[in-house]
């Protein structure tokens, strides 16, 4: 996904604690330019060769940071995202899970008026294998350079899908984990548009889940795509939750079910897979049929 992240990208990590440091090392070893960490009050220090600054603005001014990877704990994560946007960072990727939804309501409204693209929160991040660029928490060794884009609400299902593809020798142009939270920065539909515009990408795997209407909105976009899409909806066999009240059902109606989503995606021309273990081979077959290998 070189549109979001490439070898020129200069990554700053907000929240340079244990997880942030570990992922900084993994990304640097992969070949990514991790230029600084931001931990308020620790500015001027250096941790394992990573310079630390007090603010995102300083990391932008001094190191030319243009991607922010956020590990800041949930109560303070909204503040961190807006700080990145306000510092003019064009791409912010938020790993943090458990941000209060009403905080995200405000963040999303703020981002609409800024030029910053937010990926996540509660997501595994973004990777571009051919660019050796990684901003996230995904295990890099399962990736193989190639032309399939992967989009998922779930982090672990990104890894699972990529692993299946790699074992079949089908490489990836990148993956975007859009995040598992109710309110996210970039929708499945928007992520599809990014891959449609990405020259390296020939086809896309879309992994949806039960609940909400995001897959229907994605299906709407698939109709106008030039690239084939293979889709899987997780949770087809999940029991209906012990929900409370009627408001959720009034908004989503029956659109939240796996069947409604599968139908919408099929009608839009996507190839829908019934078992999660068949995603890789189905994509391999679609690439062959379309002469894309």
């Amino acid at each position: 996904m070189a549109v979001l992240l490439n070898r020129e990208s200069r990554v700053v990590i907000q929240g340079f604690g244990a997880a942030g440091q570990r992922e900084a090392h993994t990304s640097r070893a992969y070949g990514t330019q991790v230029v600084a960490g931001v931990t308020p009050g620790r500015g001027g220090q250096e941790i394992d060769g990573f310079p630390i600054r007090n603010t995102v603005r300083q990391a932008v001014d001094e190191f030319g940071a243009n991607v922010s990877l956020i590990f800041v704990p949930a109560p303070f994560a909204a503040d961190a995202i807006v700080e990145a946007a306000d510092a003019g960072v064009p791409v912010a990727i938020c790993i943090t899970e458990g941000i209060p939804p009403l905080d995200m309501v405000k963040v999303k409204a703020y981002l609409r008026a800024s030029g910053t693209i937010l990926i996540g929160p509660n997501c595994p991040g973004v990777i571009s294998p051919s660019e050796r660029a990684r901003a996230g928490i995904m295990p890099p060794d399962v990736y193989l350079e190639g032309s399939v884009g992967v989009i998922s609400r779930s982090g672990t299902l990104v890894y699972e899908t990529v692993d299946q593809l790699t074992r079949l020798g089908v490489g990836q142009s990148g993956s975007v984990g859009v995040g598992g939270d109710p309110i996210i920065g970039t929708s499945q539909r928007e992520a599809l548009a990014l891959f449609e515009a990405d020259d390296e990408t020939a086809a896309v795997v879309l992994i949806g889940e039960i609940g909400g209407t995001a897959e229907q909105e994605a299906a709407d976009y698939i109709r106008q795509m030039s690239k084939p899409v293979v889709a899987f909806i997780a949770g087809a066999t999940a029991p209906t939750g012990r929900r409370m009240g009627h408001a959720g059902a009034i908004i989503a109606g029956k659109a939240g079910t796996a069947q409604a989503k599968q139908t919408a995606l099929m009608n839009a021309g996507a190839t829908v897979v019934q078992s999660p273990s068949l995603i890789g081979e189905t994509m391999q077959r679609v690439l062959k049929e379309r002469g894309l290998t």
């Binding site: 939804p101 295990p139 995001a214 012990r242």
Partner: protein, 386 residues
């Protein structure tokens, strides 16, 4: 976190939502005393986290304090079974004793978050009562919505629009707009995930009252709502789910099958259930260990799964990102050594530190079924149930 009806009404009343007079009682004698204080007929309502309480025998009318006492004696201590609770039902520890009100008509009003719009939405309908979802499906034109924009907040004209659309006009308009605005304020200031008044009653003497109320606080905002979180009633939850949460495992749900699952990530956990069913088996639970990166969390999770009498085989399916497979492996080995899991166990590890994770399993000498890829893991788990 769900509130009981009486807690929800107390919360809403603080914001100015009119509610019937009444109080919670934990004994029949208390119910009698409250009925005496209220005078006249009362309604005695089971406090349990479920809808459809009336059909399950959890709501009774009483003409006088003696009848209120008798009704409370029947309800307190009962296992209330409704369409939502499953056959085991929910234990009722208290009742709400309220004045009876003569109702002229019933409306519907709620606030929740509209995920696609990325902001809260207020939903209102003149067709209140039990079957509002059917109304939404069959006659969507009877459902009215107004979004709460974060920059302006909920505006007075939006409250008026909902009041006019649902026929709350004339003398009712002012109380209606005040009530709607109060509900939105309660939702926002308490980090609600749902605030619902159903029915919203227009009484025969022309007043508006929240005849029933549901309120859920978003668990992700618990750090800024300590007093509200103290209202959590864990007796209304599955004890295994309570134990899991105490260990930092947010997502454990008991199911009907016999394959216990420990998975990282909600999506992979759902896909694992899908794969088990695809192979002809049935999961005993949904468990997302998330990034609970400690041996203790893994041991607790396996202890809960292993102690479930329905579980005939255990499937551990981990694709490590932030979660480390070596820590998971240490947890699996510890849980089996401690005797928490006696069922045949299938382990599939992939991702972060997988070399180290597999080495730990190998060197433990414990008899585990190893699987490569999760279709194989699901198949072996189904086979292991016999």
């Amino acid at each position: 976190m769900k509130l009981h009806e009486y807690q929800a009404k107390e919360l809403l009343a603080r914001y100015g939502v009119p509610v019937p007079k009444g109080r919670v009682a934990r004994t029949p004698a208390e119910a009698e005393a409250i009925a005496k204080e209220l005078g006249g007929g009362v309604v005695v309502k089971a406090q349990a986290h479920t809808g459809g309480r009336g059909k399950g025998g959890g709501v009774k009318l009483a003409k006088n304090p003696a009848e209120a006492k008798a009704a409370a004696a029947q309800i307190i201590g009962m296992q209330l079974v409704t369409a939502q609770t499953g056959p085991q039902g929910l234990r009722v520890a208290s009742v709400l004793v309220e004045e009876q009100v003569a109702i002229d008509r019933e409306l519907y009003l709620s606030v929740t978050i509209d995920n696609s719009a990325g902001m809260p939405v207020v939903i209102a309908s003149a067709a209140g009562g039990m079957d509002i979802e059917q109304v939404a499906e069959e006659t969507p034109e009877q459902i009215f919505r107004q979004h709460v924009h974060p920059s302006t907040g909920f505006m007075p004209y939006q409250a008026r629009a909902l009041a006019f659309a649902t026929g709350l006009t004339g003398d009712l308009m002012r109380p209606a707009t005040d009530l709607i605005a109060a509900l939105v304020r309660a939702f926002q200031e308490s980090d609600g995930s749902l605030a619902e008044i159903n029915p919203l009653a227009v009484t025969k003497d022309g007043k508006l009252l929240a005849a029933d109320a549901k309120f859920s606080v978003d668990d992700n905002a618990d750090f800024r709502h300590e007093p509200l979180m103290a209202l959590r009633d864990t007796t209304q939850e599955d004890p295994r789910e309570v134990e899991a949460r105490a260990a930092g495992i947010e997502n454990y749900v008991k199911l009907d099958g016999n394959i216990g699952c420990l998975v990282n990530g909600a999506g992979l956990a759902m896909a694992t259930m899908d794969a088990i069913k695809f192979e002809g088996g049935q999961p005993a639970n949904f468990l997302d260990i998330g990034t609970a990166n400690s041996v203790d969390a893994v041991v607790t999770a396996l202890k809960i799964i292993g102690a479930d009498p329905d579980v005939k085989a255990v499937l551990v399916n981990i694709f490590g990102g932030l979660a480390r497979t070596d820590i998971i492996a240490d947890g699996v080995v510890a849980a089996i050594r401690e005797g928490y899991v006696k069922q045949p166990t299938v382990v599939r590890l992939a991702g972060t530190n997988v070399g180290e994770g597999l080495r730990i399993l190998d060197e433990s000498g414990i008899d585990l079924v190893r699987a490569d890829g999760f279709a194989e893991a699901a198949r072996k788990a189904v086979q292991a149930t016999g």
